[in-house]
């Protein structure tokens, strides 16, 4: 009794200590297990892509047109170029609008108009991409009476809008208010403060958002089925139907032919690599340099 009170119980054997240690261990193992469960599909997906598609990757895959069944060789050059057209045009339309909307929400958005825009962006990000495809089919494809690069790009641009808008807003909100005040206190006008200081500071985050959105639309298939359709030849005009990697992968994958299957794997691997390279390049291009 007296020994325990002198040491305040600090030296006594404590059954709850072992229990606490066990809880800590269990929690740690639980977290590690969750990480493994999360990474496993990613790893196995990459492994399937490389093992089944690696052999099909060749220069021809990106430069040659598909050949009729039975012939050897051929590629998906039309799909690769078509994806480039679609994603490029969609980015040209979608990125400026989305980034400017994000700036509006962050810098001028504490109004009813801001709340309305924010709500619309959230609703839009929850709309299935195939619905966007149907919408564009109704407002672009039907009046033009044809599938086209333009229609496909519009559908993809709509899909990228909400992601970029909300990331831009969040990234600008992370810029400390002290920097806004510093610039305003130097007699810098509001818009130039936004354009030169805030966007510059938030740029890496905004670029990450843009890369994610581009990665997402590059792999979209459903909205292209009713808008860009497909094309077994090179696309020359922006109002012609166009092939794209995801649609071609889809077509080839559901076909019964093994050459097509292996080309589909190759194209899928190529798509992942292109997105990876784009993301890394974007990160590299926007890192801060000091002069």
């Amino acid at each position: 009794m007296s020994a325990a009170s002198e040491t305040l119980g600090l030296l006594e054997a404590d059954s709850s200590a072992a229990k606490r240690a066990l809880h800590a261990k269990l929690f740690e193992w639980g977290c590690m297990l969750a990480v493994v469960v999360a990474i496993l599909p990613l790893g196995s997906l990459l492994w399937s892509l490389v093992s089944k598609g690696g052999a099909a990757i060749s220069v021809d895959l990106f430069t040659e047109l598909p050949v009729p069944l039975g012939e050897m060789g051929g590629g998906m050059g039309n799909g690769a170029l078509g994806s480039l057209y679609l994603v490029g045009l969609a980015s040209l339309m979608g990125v400026p609008v989305a980034v400017l909307s994000g700036i509006f929400l962050s810098e001028y958005g504490e109004t009813r108009a801001g709340a309305a825009v924010r709500f619309c962006a959230d609703v839009l990000s929850g709309i299935p991409s195939i619905t966007v495809g149907l919408f564009v089919y109704g407002v672009v494809v039907l009046p033009m009476k044809r599938f086209s690069v333009i229609a496909g790009a519009i559908a993809l641009a709509i899909i990228m809008l909400p992601t970029i808008t909300r990331t831009t807003e969040e990234m600008l909100r992370l810029v400390p208010n002290q920097l806004r005040e510093a610039a305003l206190g130097l007699g810098v006008s509001r818009w130039r403060t936004t354009a030169s200081i805030l966007i510059r500071t938030a740029l890496p985050g905004i670029v990450t958002g843009v890369s994610l959105a581009i990665a997402r639309i590059a792999g979209e298939t459903a909205p292209l089925l009713f808008t860009a359709f497909s094309n077994s030849n090179w696309t020359e005009y922006m109002d012609d139907p166009v092939a794209s990697l995801p649609v071609q992968i889809y077509t080839y994958a559901v076909s019964p032919y093994s050459e097509w299957h292996s080309q589909a794997w190759g194209a899928a691997l190529a798509l992942v690599l292109v997105i990876l390279v784009l993301s890394v390049a974007a990160k590299f291009a926007t890192r801060t340099r000091y002069r």
Partner: protein
């Protein structure tokens, strides 16, 4: 876009520009600005939404001197100096009424662009806030570049601005490093240099040393004593010893009102108001 040209720092004449259509009396007032900057505040009322923080405050601030604003937390010190360069109105829900005259021109006149007021009345904030995306050098030039001011000799502007805040010797080999890589005290001096590069008439300082250690504080105080020979300085401080060390005049604020305003040694040794005496002797606040 208004363009200004700087050939050399010395040749820059301070001026507050009003719309060219201003009547001749206003233009004469503008010309009067060349003779040193005097701030005077008349019946200033300001606050946020329904709460009035500054309740009808009148005071004249001496040119080329340091004026300290002291008072307990929440007495409106910061709001007050943010009214002087029209920074208060940037906060959503803020309101301002009354007059703030810079050499006789009301900065709240409808013809006056707040952006131009802030170029003439520089501000240094509580926490050092260099631009993290810019190097030391670009931070000094930030005000000039962002305002599209043509800079004659860039290196000279950088060096003279950094010298005037006694930072040149410490950072001359680090000009290309990020502004945020400097120590807290150096960052604050960098921010002062950034303001000075614009050649303002008045420098407002909102507790510029509250985030700094005693040695860095001593350097900034030394700097303020030198700068007041060229600039009108208004400094908000929580530290009464600091006010006593650097200010020629001191104003005691309480609950949004100016209780007493006099020579600094009068405020600290023989104040005429009971509230001032209680505050400076540490009985409250």
């Amino acid at each position: 876009m208004q363009m200004m040209t700087i050939q050399s720092p010395a040749s820059l004449k301070p001026r507050l520009q009003v719309a060219t259509s201003a009547p001749s009396s206003a233009r004469e007032q503008v010309l009067a600005l060349d003779s040193g900057a005097q701030l005077s505040v008349t019946e200033l009322r300001a606050g946020f939404g329904a709460s009035e923080v500054i309740k009808g405050l009148t005071m004249a601030i001496d040119p080329r001197a340091t004026t300290a604003i002291i008072g307990p937390s929440g007495c409106g010190k910061s709001t007050f100096i943010r009214c002087l360069n029209r920074m208060h109105e940037v906060t959503p829900g803020a309101f301002v009424g009354g007059r703030v005259e810079l050499n006789g021109v009301d900065v709240y006149d409808s013809r006056v662009d707040p952006v131009r007021v802030r170029r003439r009345i520089g501000m240094v904030f509580q926490k050092p806030n260099p631009f993290p995306s810019m190097s030391v050098r670009d931070n000094v030039l930030a005000g000039l570049k962002l305002n599209r001011v043509k800079i004659g000799n860039v290196e000279e502007v950088v060096e003279s601005s950094l010298r005037s805040v006694a930072l040149w010797d410490e950072v001359k080999d680090k000009l290309k490093q990020p502004g945020t890589s400097l120590s807290g005290g150096q960052q604050q001096r960098l921010c002062i240099a950034r303001s000075i590069a614009l050649k303002p008439e008045v420098l407002l300082m909102d507790e510029p040393c509250s985030a700094l250690d005693p040695i860095a504080t001593a350097r900034i105080e030394e700097l303020i004593s030198e700068l007041r020979q060229h600039y009108t300085i208004v400094i908000v401080t929580h530290n009464m010893h600091q006010a006593a060390r650097i200010a020629q005049k001191t104003a005691f604020f309480f609950m949004g009102e100016l209780i007493e305003y006099d020579e600094t040694d009068v405020i600290f040794t023989r104040p005429s108001q009971k509230q001032t005496e209680d505050y400076v002797t540490g009985r409250f606040g």
